[in-house]
Amino acid sequence: MELEQLSIEDLRKGFTESGYISEEEVIVTTYLALRLGKPLLVTGPPGVGKTEIAKVLSKMFNTELIRLQCYEGLDETRALYEWDYKKQLLMIQMGKEGKRESDLEKSIFSKEYLLERPLLKAIRADKKVVLLIDEIDKADEEFEAFLFEILSDFQVSIPELGTVSARHIPIVILTSNNERDLSDGLKRRCVFLYIDYPTVDKEVQIINAKVPQAGEKLSEEIAQAVNHIRSHLDIKKKPSVSETLDWTRSLALLNADRLSEEVINQTLNIIFKDEDDLEAFRQHLGSEELYKVVQPGHK
């Protein structure tokens, strides 16, 4: 698929074909980012399919997905490039007698000794790639500043080698769990998308697409139950879509065609990964109540 001729319909079709079920808003916003050639900044709670967008796009455009996972303390040497010091030192020790110093210096600061990290890899790629910068909110603020410099002109200067410019501007997707506010500078350069937990209807569609073996009734009840838990319980980690799917799969394995108090009890640890959350569920909601909630006619 060619990016320049891309229409909203193409994108919608591509998303559906990859099994990515989403609200119209996600499609329109992604489309805008692609057409404007700007990075797409996706925020929202964990497990709503932020990272998935990058994967789907790389599949759609049939191109490589380069991923930069952010964490505290991430810096240029891990994100952009680093000289392979160990190899260089070895070279120096080996060549101590023979070579002239200036030749030695030239040879150890050549491409052979360069460790390419994700950002440089994306810039030097022969083809337009998808660059996923995951959980940018985990990186430090300094790194963020460095990053948006790269994102604005897609060129890096390596003192020993000169300036490297991107042959193809990559498709950039940034994700954030909103653990801290991102800087205005970064936000200004991006197209912004917030993805919330899916509605009950959407979640039923997702379940049907990913776990077709689950019956219609079961999918509906599960979607409703999960939705209820998310909106009514004050817990540390709300069940994500992937947990919904895990839950559905295990219920399907148990041959359950409907939810019941008993099967809910048996499978609680799939939805609640945190001991305190499980306790909160038992205290404030309980399997019996949850079972009632998903029954037809319940308000």
Partner: protein, 490 residues
Amino acid sequence: MDNQVKSLEEQRNTEIWDLMLKQRWARSGNYIENNLVKFVQVLRHLGIRVSSSETIDALRALELVNINNKQAVKTTLRALLSKDIEKQILFDKAFAIFFSSPEEKEQRFLEGLRRKKEQERQAKQIEQDFTFQRADTEGEAAEEVKFDLTERQKELYTKLSRDDQEKLTEFVNQVIQTHREGSFQRKISFLQNFIRGTLNYWEKQLRQNGMEEESQVAFDLDPTGDEEMDQLLEDVAEQVRASEQALLYEDMKTIGERDLPKATVIIKRLAKKLASRISRRYRRTKKSQRIEMRRSIRSNIRYGGTMLDLKYKIKKIEKPKILLVCDVSGSMSRYASFVIQFMYGLSSVVKEIESFIFSDDLERVTPYFKKQRPFEQTMFTIMNESQYWGGGTNLNKSLLTFMDKYKALLTPTTRIILVSDAKTTKPQETEKSLQEMREMVKDMIWLNTLPKGEWGSVEHLALFRKHCRMFECYTLAHLENVMKEHFLSS
């Protein structure tokens, strides 16, 4: 230097703007451009930061979608103009109002007009009700006596039944007409107190009966002078007040019992976010590192003594100490409980929190929090057990007590947070205590629950502000903002 940067930025902005004018507005039919620029202005007034380059991006983006599809336009503008999830609600409301149909616009205009007329009518009525003709001893109308009510009092007064209103004004009238003992001036001040007292009584009554559901939302926007824009902003503010997230902008004092759980959730969320921000700052050890030779040599023996793997000394990290001093007199207690709750949400990233409450005098409440009980229960116990909860205000005495008994808690790493509306007796003495405290600690922040607009009317505030950083703080949004922008920022 700063000025230079600023002027450069300004110049750049004007350049962008000029370019935009040339490129876009030169064409005929600049309907979309005009509307977009106006909408951006509305957003900026609502506190959403939108840069010129983002505006241009939005314009480019609008060319890519079907602008007859309102939902698509909304998605587009949101993706390019509103990038702060906390402020999404403001964007949504502003969009709904700005891009509403002509019929809706007219409807709103008429509604606004009606509201204004109604307000004027009520204001007139109140003025009439509280203007009395004082007859002299012969029974001739001799003098006009007028009482000025505050906005809040006026609001309460209009909520009373006509019957209760008349009872109040009738009584005032009777007192004015009697000509016996006492000076007239004293009588007037007695009546002012009486009116205030009565209305306060009604406020409590109304709240208890659940009549005072609609609470005051402190989401006020400064007028721009452009009538159309002002009307629009007023409508948006109105909508925000009526919405769920309004709690964030609501005067904490007026958050009703029913909304407390919701407020608790918001406080927890805000505190958690701030805590992760602070912890990040205090965990960072990369700066000003020093190499630790012994560990480095040991670890590099395997590389034949070439220093490939350096080990660093880890800088000891000092977590801040917080000292909370909260006014819990009368109406202040609600603010105090929110602020305390917020601060304890930060407990994972601070070394220790010492909490004090004061009204007539000061009491240390830290021990209550050490019992590992849920926060709500702890607060409840304090409210019940403390003799000072809900008393009068004597900041001076409270500070003296503090300096007398707890001076040892003041260290160069302590940061004091004071929560009070600063209404106190003996301001000069209070100032001295404040100064003394300030000199012994790292920072002192005063969260003033009095709206900034009223600061001018409290003379001694200027005295207090010499010794601390004072911020307006009567909504959860204020609280978050102060903590985020100013606390621990130095």
